[in-house]
């Protein structure tokens, strides 16, 4: 399910090749990590391998998958979105207020929430394109604006106890697996198809790999950028809907912890930070690894403060993997050039 905008560098020397292959195979590494961690947890704790707990992990992972995908699509295009959490917050407020304050049907409220998230993303993308600004500063400022609005409207008070016929989304199972997990997987499959077979997805990767070349090849980069940030906003909104369905309350700062995992999941899974190469499967497995780890830390009774430290170290480690990957692929390219 991984897709690259640039052809992978050719075969390489023995040891370096093994290192490079195992690390650039982000999905496999993430899967191996997840399996090892799950096995260790099953043996060291009584409660991890229980059916209820696996359901808890699946539900938490579903949200992390979608949050990771929201970041992955913009990374693929060579950008970043610091406003994923803030977008989730504003969507939470839109859904919560429509259902609780205005008594609007959950289906309509969810559609409105998804539209609000998509629109926020499109506006952010448009500001980046029209202003020629760096995605960093626009999404930093945009996130602040969205969070300010979400907090200003609600005075920082969540919408408690959303309607039961909405909460059913967070409780229901399908074939013994939580519905919200299915939704996360469904979104991932659609994205994987888009990045592999649809011209929109291919254009995102081409643009991320080399913006200038993409423009010279006639790709409408302005419209593409707006679409990518709109897609990111839509995914952030989907994550927010899944999370408020699971929690039963709509908090205006629902996404305040999303930033780290949004980068960690894709990078662990083999998405290239500089753009041009993404792995949907890797992001899903990276999110699974993070979900199991977060759950495992609870079962090991690790202090919540340690969790914050460990989260920081994980993203640094992911950055380290990325550096090794980049260096070995650069070395491989040099070798190939010499041979040519």
């Amino acid at each position: 399910m991984s897709a690259a905008g640039t052809p992978a560098a050719g075969e390489s020397g023995a040891f370096a090749g093994i290192v490079r292959r195992s690390l650039s195979a982000g999905p496999a590494a993430a899967l191996a990590g997840a399996i090892v961690l799950a096995a260790v947890l099953s043996f060291t704790t009584h409660s991890f391998a229980s059916l209820e707990n696996i359901e808890v992990v699946a539900k938490a992972t579903a949200v992390t998958i979608v949050v990771g995908l929201a970041q992955m699509v913009v990374i693929g295009a060579g950008g970043m979105n610091l406003a994923v959490g803030a977008t989730g917050g504003i969507v939470s407020v839109v859904c919560g207020s429509l259902m609780n304050s205005f008594g609007i049907a959950p289906v309509i409220a969810v559609i409105a929430g998804l539209a609000a998230g998509t629109f926020s993303g499109a506006v952010i993308g448009a500001v980046i394109v029209r202003g020629g600004f760096s995605p960093f500063i626009v999404t930093l400022a945009g996130g602040s604006i969205l969070t300010g609005i979400a907090l200003g409207i609600t005075q920082s008070i969540p919408y408690y106890h959303l309607p039961d016929d909405f909460q059913v989304l967070g409780v229901a199972d399908l074939f013994g697996i939580p519905v919200i997990f299915w939704i996360g997987i469904l979104l991932a499959i659609v994205l994987a198809i888009v990045f592999r077979y649809v011209s929109f997805g291919r254009q995102i990767l081409a643009f991320g790999a080399n913006p200038r070349a993409a423009e010279l090849n006639g790709i409408p980069i302005g419209r593409l950028t707006v679409s990518v940030y709109a897609l990111s906003g839509f995914l952030a909104a989907s994550a927010a809907v899944l999370l408020i369905a699971r929690l039963g309350d709509a908090d205006p700062v629902i996404g305040k912890d999303w930033l780290l995992v949004s980068f960690a999941a894709p990078i662990i899974g083999g998405t290239r930070l500089a753009g041009g190469q993404v792995s949907v499967l890797g992001t899903v497995l990276g999110a699974l690894l993070l979900g199991i780890l977060a759950n495992g830390l609870v079962h090991w009774n690790v202090d919540v403060f340690f969790v914050q430290l460990i989260s920081g170290l994980i993203i640094l480690a992911a950055g380290g993997i990325e550096t090794i990957r980049e260096m070995s692929s650069a070395a491989a390219q040099r070798r190939q050039r010499r041979r040519a």
Partner: protein, 343 residues
Amino acid sequence: MTAITDNAASPGSGPGKERGADSRGGLRRAVVGSEVIGILAPVVLVAAAMTILFPGFASPFNVDALLATIAVTSLVGLAQLAVLAVGQFNLALPAMGAFTGMVLGWMLQIGGVNWLPAVAIALAFSLALGVAQGFLIVVVRLNSFIVTLGLASAYYGLMYVVLGNERYQKIGAALPLIGRGAVGVFPNIFLISMVVCAAVWVFVGLTVPGRRLLATGANPLAARFSALPVKRTTIGAHALSGALAGAAAILVVGRLAVGSPAIGQDWLLSSFAAPVLGGTLLSGGKISVLGTVLGAALLAMIANALVIVGVNQYWYQAGLGLIILGAVGLDQLRLRLLTSGRL
């Protein structure tokens, strides 16, 4: 005031070239100089409007609070400016401030350290936090964005793990000089902050390491080919960033007589807003120390005015985002006018 333009190495020009200013250089300097005027004007305007409309604004109590906020925000802005100069960001600034403030609080309340060595140790500590960050970026060669994102979380985590979720409130008058004193209308922390700002201004504008900072940011490749110590300079920028964040935290601890994890929690946005308002380029290579201080003054006055008018702080957060976007927008416009040669 025109001397501040010496801090501007025009983007794209290699080191050394900036000395040979031709006739266009004079014009350019005038435009760059107007960036300081561009930020000074709204500062004066807001101050005048508030003084006329709200008598409470110019009261000694409010002026004291305002100057204290300007003192802290200026240093926070300069802490971000130090890394912006080399074309990088520091998302771990709030965590560095909180950690330093907590360490200082611990030393004063639990450790029984005298205030002067405690302040010195706190400064050295924050410097070390910055050096570690620069080390990971330059030597370990991790992506700079990922490093500061990760350290933002790791430093908070480490702080909580080592010191717990404490509030060191029994500091008392341990920081008498920094804490409550004032010279005339100027609170001590404002004067200390301005001395530090002046030192940074001299460092960036007049010393060789300071000039290297700008040369590295303007064009890292050209700097490397000119045999400038790019790696050492980048680590130095992060060290300076950490030390300035630490200095800001020390002022906060002195002012509030409390060391708590909440120090720095609202720094991140203003750390970008203050330099950007003052005409600093996010891409590196052009910074304005005086502009940053004036930017901090404008931010502090807007926040203060909103409190007086009775606007909710949440809307200030939304406004801050708009201010940043507006400031980078103006910058971009200015740059476009400059490069299109229509000036």
